[in-house]
């Protein structure tokens, strides 16, 4: 009863104390919510990146399940099903390969007649796009839309479909099914499932697979062995396969986890510095208040309780605001970051996990708790006499200053900085760092050249090709979705110009002894020049990969010789007697001008060509992303290439589009992607969008981090000036009473600020240049970094000087207004 009574009065005191000082209230809430916002958004992004990574892995594996076990009969599966370690249990069995329903374009897509239960269907992501129902009866079937689309025939739910399939013994069987539904399979994979129910086997299932998801997603393998043991099954003969486990995921995503953790820790430290400062300043300023309530009989414990209660109210408001805005901010940032990456996460939903929210709240709260810990102690230790003392004899003797400069204002300011070394260092470091960071971010984003970026990826507005080309798995001998017919269709479209086809074949050349030697020597020379101690083996150059490309005049313009007269050379090139060689990225120029090189076409036809020149930097659009250390790329005119290699596939086609038709073409391409199996395209617009997203993310992250660090610097600076004023209030009054004018006093405080700015300037100019140089060197390897600006440095320094000379005056003014009576009493 008593306890409750005192708790209530403490709460009341806390509330009225808190809401009395509105500006402190607002500043603290802003700081806490900013901190919570950053923590929430970072953990949201980290969590979702892990989820996306997980989903991406699962998509690659084709299942969400942890493992598969091969089962002989249902007696075995029954034992497994009852195991307590299981979270989910599913069954499937491949029946055979579907032989009919396929057209030529599809012969690379293997379609299997399979039994799957609902769990397996879910694990394979099929229910994400499911329309209709799952099969129940023995003649019902669920089909893959991808097959469905490309055979040019439409099956509706309820239609009958006749399926020919070969069983394990390669016996061809036939059965008629009724379609109960369809789904869209995995475009990345080259197989589809036609799914039937368990009734297909008349409920007698033998030799099948169970897919398991375990309750614990760590130590999967050990647990699977345990399950097998407990079920009395042997684990010989590769009885199980482990798909997916958090162990692996965590190992692979360790970077994400560590980066998230590191960022959160940095944010907590930042938050600590800010929130600690606010509490510290307010408590130092209110020493008298705490002393006063102590004379009335509040105990240290009750003061601690009061401030704790205040910090909890502030945390509740601040963290609530920060949490919601952080989730939103995290979502936006995540979307931008991921659109830059190459993940194709069609079915990924940004998710908010309760654990993630709890973690964010805990870290945000932790920041407040550690930030208030020391101020809380200071407040509870304020002696009651502090309040009582104000009534009379204050006997502190001012510190003696040096006689020589003692009364010089500039020297007083200087000794103030000297006596607060640690705080001054903190101010200087955070302000310098903030300025350096702003400059780096500014220079970095300015030097992001969108045209250069796009042209490094694309030489035309659009490129079209088979998806295998974009997956770096192009095979000129396989079926290709980019046919000559399709090229003609695009070429004839209104608004399409500069339509240019690129052909290619690749062979593993025997002979070429001289070339292989030159490559080997080239490698050795470069290794030596770069001081790399790698012992390269000549056997690695036993054969040579020759990549032969056929191009037209549009593409030729991107393979120019730096020294030669391009028009003359172009004429020579088009005679068909010459090849252009690509400089080997490591071994350098291998082929000499006018040298004769022998090429072997796929139809075994052999022809000799003269080397026109060797070119540098072939654009990515004109290569097939094939890398081997012994490889040579050669470019022939398209006509010459096709005369000798009549049935060549088009590797890719490039074209530009009139601006007004851009939207229409983009829409058309999208419809073609849906319509034609394995057809894909890339556009300069897409890269432009990606690039500006990347630039925006860099800017948001960079500037907000600089802002926060700068804020810490400014707060520390305010703190420094405040404590200077408060701790030397008596000294200042004495100085005033002995004739130091207010103007001189303010001048002294301003000088302190200016001294700080001078030190910051020194650091920014010396150390800052070094840091900028190092950071830029790091970025240079990834991005062409050409721009370095001094403008932001100058601007920020100017601002800093203005700020540091005016702020102390402003602080002094506030102090003076608030404590006029007290100050007079001091002098009394």
């Amino acid at each position: 009863m008593y306890k409750n009574n005192t708790d209530n009065v403490i709460k009341e005191l806390a509330k009225s104390h808190l809401f009395q000082n509105k500006s402190r209230l607002i500043v603290t809430i802003i700081a806490i919510s900013l901190n919570a916002l950053l923590i929430t958004s970072i953990s949201t992004i980290g969590f979702n990146m892990l989820q996306a990574e997980k989903l991406f892995n699962q998509q690659l594996l084709g299942t969400k399940a942890h493992c598969e076990i091969y089962i002989k009969n249902e007696e075995e599966s029954k034992k497994i099903k009852e195991n307590k370690l299981l979270k989910e249990y599913g069954e499937y069995k491949n029946i055979g390969e579907v032989k009919n329903l396929l057209n030529e374009d599809l012969d690379r897509r293997i379609t299997t007649l399979t039994f799957m239960d609902d769990i397996v269907i879910k694990n394979k992501f099929y229910n994400d796009s499911l329309v209709g129902k799952l099969p129940k009866k023995n003649n019902e079937i669920l089909i893959d839309n991808l097959v469905f689309d490309s055979i040019g025939k439409k099956f509706k739910i309820g239609d009958n479909i006749k399926i020919q399939y070969s069983d394990i013994n390669n016996k061809l069987l036939e059965k008629e099914f009724k379609v109960t539904g369809y789904y869209t399979g995995n475009r990345v994979e080259n197989y589809s499932d036609f799914i039937v129910s368990k009734k297909f086997f008349e409920n007698k299932l033998e030799e099948f697979v169970v897919e398991l998801t375990l309750k614990n997603s760590f130590h999967i393998e050990n647990n699977v062995k345990k399950i097998l043991n407990e079920s009395g099954l042997d684990n010989k003969n590769n009885r199980y396969t482990i798909h997916n486990s958090n162990d692996i995921l965590l190992r692979e995503s360790l970077e994400v986890v560590l980066a998230t953790l590191l960022l959160v820790i940095v944010i907590v430290i930042n938050g600590y510095l800010i929130i600690y400062n606010i509490f510290y300043i307010s408590i130092i300023r209110e020493t008298r208040f705490y002393g006063l309530i102590k004379t009335i009989g509040i105990t240290s414990k009750q003061i601690r309780k009061m401030i704790f209660y205040e910090s909890m109210i502030l945390s509740f408001i601040g963290i609530s605001i920060g949490l919601f805005s952080g989730l939103g901010f995290g979502y936006l940032l995540f979307k931008n970051v991921y659109s830059v990456n190459d993940y194709n996460l069609e079915y990924f939903n940004f998710s908010i996990n309760s654990l993630m929210i709890i973690v964010a709240v805990i870290f945000s709260l932790l920041t407040v708790l550690i930030s208030t810990y020391k101020p809380l102690k200071i407040a509870s230790k304020v002696s009651a006499i502090e309040a009582a003392k104000y009534t009379g004899n204050y006997k502190k003797i001012p510190k003696k200053t040096s006689d020589k400069y003692g009364c010089k204002i500039w020297y007083m300011a200087y000794s103030n900085i000297k006596s607060n070394k640690i705080k001054s260092i903190l101010v200087v470091v955070s302000l310098s760092l903030s300025i350096i960071m702003v400059n780096i971010v500014y220079s970095l984003t300015k030097s992001f050249d969108i045209d250069e970026y796009v042209s490094s990826k694309m030489i035309s507005d659009y490129s079209i090709g088979d998806s295998s080309y974009y997956n770096h798995q192009y095979d000129e001998n396989s079926k290709n979705s980019l046919t000559e017919k399709l090229c003609d269709e695009f070429k004839s479209m209104d608004g399409v110009k500069d339509f240019s086809k690129v052909y290619n074949f690749l062979y593993y050349g025997n002979g070429y002894e001289d070339l292989r030697n030159r490559l080997y020597e080239g490698y050795k020379r470069t290794l030596k020049e770069e001081n790399i101690t790698y012992d390269i083996n000549k056997s690695e150059f036993e054969k040579i990969y020759i990549q032969v490309y056929g191009i037209d005049n549009f593409a030729y313009n991107y393979l120019l010789d730096n020294d030669g007269d391009s028009e003359d050379l172009k004429g020579l090139f088009n005679t068909g007697k010459y090849v252009i060689a690509e400089k080997n990225s490591f071994a350098g120029k291998i082929l000499k001008k006018d040298e004769i090189i022998k090429l072997e076409y796929p139809n075994k036809k052999i022809k000799n060509y003269k080397v026109l020149y060797t070119t540098d930097n072939v654009p990515r659009s004109l290569t097939r992303s094939f890398f081997s250390i012994s490889s040579l790329s050669l470019y022939l005119p398209k006509d010459e290439f096709l005369i000798n290699n009549e049935n060549a596939n088009v590797m890719t086609a490039l074209f530009n589009v009139e601006k007004s038709k851009n939207k229409y073409i983009e829409k058309f391409l999208e419809s073609k992607v849906r319509e034609i199996y394995n057809f894909d395209y890339k556009s300069a617009n897409l890269y432009k969008k990606e690039f500006s997203n990347f630039k925006n993310v860099t800017m948001i992250l960079g500037y907000s981090l600089s802002f926060i660090i700068g804020l810490i610097g400014i707060l520390n600076f305010i703190n420094l000036i405040c404590t200077n004023i408060f701790s030397r209030k008596y000294e200042l009054s004495i100085m005033q009473s002995i004739g130091m004018t207010k103007k001189q006093l303010k001048k002294m405080l301003s000088l302190e600020g200016i001294y700080h700015s001078i030190i910051v300037t020194f650091f920014v100019i010396t150390l800052g240049r070094l840091i900028s140089y190092v950071v830029m060197k790091i970025f240079e390897s990834n991005i062409d970094f050409t721009f370095f600006s001094k403008l932001p440095i100058l601007g920020m320094l100017l601002l800093l000087f203005l700020f540091s000379s005016f702020l102390p005056k402003l602080i002094y003014k506030t102090v003076e207004k608030e404590n006029l009576i007290e100050r007079i009493k001091y002098i009394d």
Binding site: N5, E12, F289, K294, T295, I296, A388, G392, K395
Partner: protein, 223 residues
């Protein structure tokens, strides 16, 4: 004799680099229950330091203070605060009201901090005697100096302390208000049988007390 407040060889020394300042230098003092004592001295005589030590706000360099036979030096900080809250009422020169609470809540705050039920009858009686019935819901900064000091007297009395320590209670007031406030301290102390120790530099004010103790340079000169 019923001694309620006693000091034994009480000393307070401040050490500086150059010398030792003896603010209070061996004071022995006995104060009886119900007595109104004034401690008189010039500025810097050590009277405030003495009062702070008597009230348990300041710790003596040497010597002991007994309040109701309790040796204050045996209490830790927490116990001392609670003891002070229950046994000693303070009246300060600058009133020391809590600015974030209205007059009534200032008066009852020590009681509430102790978790005791408020004796409304008694509180109302104090309020009536001090004539601040109409000011109870007013915030301190809206009150005049005299009114603030009345509220602070009410706060000192509210907990029914053993002793009231008043530190220059009229130091910030004009002479007419000073007379009123001093009268009120005297009346209330009689009415509620309170022991009052008041420090002042003013001989005239000191005369209002039952007994005056004069100190100079930290030593009792007479009384």
């Amino acid at each position: 004799m019923n001694i309620i407040l006693k000091s034994l060889n009480l000393k307070k020394y401040y050490k500086t680099k150059e010398n030792i300042v003896k603010a209070v230098d061996g004071i022995n003092l006995d104060i009886e229950k119900g007595e109104f004592v004034s401690i008189v001295g010039t500025s810097g005589s050590g009277k405030s330091t003495l009062l702070h030590m008597l009230g348990g706000l300041d710790i003596p360099s040497e010597g002991k203070v007994f309040v109701k036979d309790k040796d204050l030096s045996t209490l830790n900080e927490e116990e001392l605060t609670i003891f002070r809250r229950r046994n000693i009422g303070f009246i300060f020169q600058n009133y020391n009201l809590i600015q974030i609470m209205d007059a009534y809540n200032n008066i009852v705050l020590p009681i509430r901090l102790d978790g005791i039920k408020i004796d409304d009858k008694y509180i109302n009686k104090i309020i009536n005697v001090l004539g601040i019935e109409g000011k109870l819901n007013v915030m301190p900064n809206k009150l005049s100096g005299g009114e603030q000091q009345r509220v602070s007297i009410a706060r000192a009395l509210a907990i029914k302390p053993s002793i009231i320590l008043a530190d220059e209670p009229t130091g910030n007031l004009d002479s007419k208000t000073s007379q009123e406030v001093l009268g009120l301290i005297k009346i209330t102390s009689q009415k509620f049988h309170q022991t009052v120790v008041m420090i002042t530099h003013n001989e005239e004010i000191a005369q209002l007390a039952d007994r005056s103790v004069h100190i100079e340079d930290g030593i009792i000169m007479r009384g």
